[in-house]
């Protein structure tokens, strides 16, 4: 026990040492987060509530102007342009994430069925494309999908696109680009889930009269759910805020929220509006994460699924 004014005991010295140790280890990280996350976020938040100045720079007084403009209220009354951009972002995120899951699931499973010595190589093949710059890969897709290329000609001859329009630029090209870009982020967590799959559970399900399809749903799927949710977070959030792919592959009709925000800071210069857009993205992301947690908890039988 230590009393006020008592001579430092071994125990109180240990506590001091521990506190110093804690300060030493935690401070750099806390500083980093404060300087590069908390401060900029606060600044962004502030900017969003300011008024647009002459050169697109924020100025006083505080107002809700930028949020009104984001909602589509302009000089000429209401226009749904921004709303469409938000919906397009959500739709693109949903579709591409779903397709990524559908593609990644069998791929991840297949890799776990391969011989152990082949698995790292196959995983490497999944990851290697992402070592190339995103912009370069987007340009690659532009060349593959542009009018006159074999793929575009095929689509035209099948009547899928209007003559001489090509597959690029289009929403389809953006979806394709997103899938291509984010596939590894789904394959890896799913692979980790499949690798530690308890096959005894699958056999128990079969033994208890579950057909192969039902054994999958009741014994395989729940076990891969944590990997699936982790992959969904890794894919959906960056896809929702994606800038490069819609910019290069989408054209004017393929704009997503990320482009809207970027344009306000660069091209049309309206910082408060850009900041408001960024906050909208943040809110949408939090809602998505919250929903995922709920889904994870329900499907996981009340178990905490860490996201």
């Amino acid at each position: 026990m230590s009393y006020p004014g008592a001579v430092p005991t071994a125990r109180s010295r240990a506590m001091v040492r521990e506190t110093r140790h804690l300060l030493f280890t935690v401070t750099p990280g806390a500083l980093w987060i404060f300087i590069f996350l908390v401060l900029p976020s606060a600044y962004l938040m502030g900017v969003a509530f300011m008024t647009n100045g002459p050169y697109g720079l924020p100025q006083m007084p505080l107002s809700l102007d930028s949020f009104e403009r984001l909602a589509g209220v302009g000089f000429l009354g209401w226009s749904p342009g921004n709303l469409y951009t938000l919906l397009r972002s959500l739709w693109q995120t949903l579709v591409s994430t779903l397709l990524v899951v559908i593609i990644a699931y069998p791929v991840a499973y297949y890799i776990t069925t391969c011989r152990e010595k082949w698995r790292p190589i196959l995983l490497l093949l999944v990851v290697v494309p992402s070592w190339t710059n995103q912009v370069i890969r987007a340009f690659g897709w532009m060349n593959l999908l542009a009018p006159g290329t074999p793929l575009s000609s095929l689509a035209e001859s099948l009547g899928l696109v209007a003559p001489n329009m090509g597959l690029y630029p289009s929403n389809f090209a953006v979806t394709l680009g997103l899938i291509y870009n984010f596939l590894p982020f789904m394959v890896l967590p799913l692979y980790a889930a499949f690798e530690k799959l308890d096959t005894a559970q699958v056999q128990a399900a079969q033994d208890l009269y579950a057909s192969p399809v039902r054994a999958f749903w009741h014994a395989v799927f729940p076990q891969t759910l944590p990997g699936l949710l982790a992959g969904t977070v890794l894919v959906a959030i960056p896809a929702f805020g994606m800038y490069v792919i819609p910019e290069l592959l989408g054209g004017g009709k393929g704009m997503m929220l990320g482009n809207l925000v970027a344009n306000q800071f660069a091209g049309s210069s309206n910082w408060p509006l850009g900041a408001a857009g960024a906050i909208l993205m943040l809110i949408a992301t939090f809602i998505g994460l919250f929903a995922m947690r709920r889904i994870g908890k329900r499907l996981g039988g009340g178990e905490e699924v860490v996201i």
Partner: protein, 374 residues
Amino acid sequence: MSETMTADIADHPDARPAADERDRSNHKASSIEMQGLHKRFGRDTVALDGVDLNIRAGEFFTLLGPSGCGKTTLLRILAGLEEPDAGSLVVGGKDITETPPHQRSVNTVFQSYALFPHLSVRENLAFGLKMRGMPAAKRHAKVDEIADFIKLGDLVDRHVDQLSGGQRQRIALARALICEPDVLLLDEPLSALDAGLRSQLQVELLRVQKRLGMTFVFVTHDQQEAMVMSDRIAVLNGGTIQQVGPPREVYERPVNAFVAHFMGHDNLYPISARQGDRLTTALGELTAEEAGDGELLLIRPETLDLLPGAVERPNHLTATVTERLYRGSHAEFRLAIGDTTLQATVNNRGRHLPEVGETVTVAVAPEDLVTLSE
């Protein structure tokens, strides 16, 4: 399949005669016939090399053997989780060699229990019934019934990860029993438990089997466990069956050296010469009641009597005590006869127990001597 476990026995002419405690044995137990089962993994690993085996209806049958002997493969073939390369499997008069696992009325208690961690205990128990399309209300009643039968108490409302090993084991058993299968398969279900709990659950399992009269096929590598539990034991080695019989027969009359060693016998001596029932081994000359034509002589340690001093009589050997292990209820002796070692187990009746270095006479009864082949 019977409608309910508690239906009147008289309604079922097929039921086995109801012993007093066989109050739930309206269940129609099934026999199992296996013929020429072969199974190979990869190019070189032979798991089963021609297994012919008949298991009677309502029998507690144990597949016993060391790891890699093929006992688990045989069980998995019964469950349908493995397909034999050759041979046939008939359960209850129906050939199910090609039937997929979910269409077999056979349930398994897995070694790892394989409970579904994302489901509650109740959902785990009801899983098989749900897959068979039983309505929810009926499932609920069935779960309560089995919980009562296995004495699960309030475990039913817990979550799987709140259960101890022994509790998981009982849930796994209940989950398999609730479907009232023709045959229940148990894959080393007690191997993960500590000794005390293990022997308690052995007795419980045995009682459950006797009460239900269901055919149990039990896999273990523990010969003690096999002897306690089984009506009959099949000893396997290298994918073939070495011996099939009731525990006493397998223990007291092993047919070959492998079975003898596996059942815990070490006193095996090559027979160098024989004259009728008089056998010569490194121990000396001994007379057996029925020598048979085996080339090895088996002397079970617990059949030996140790007398003080040296006595010259037929079937009496003079030995020196080289080691004594006092175990309370009995003592184990290691004896030297010339260069040969003999082990003896003597019950402690409070009489003199020979000391190390003492010369003793070992008395061997002719009827306890067994010969067997390599």
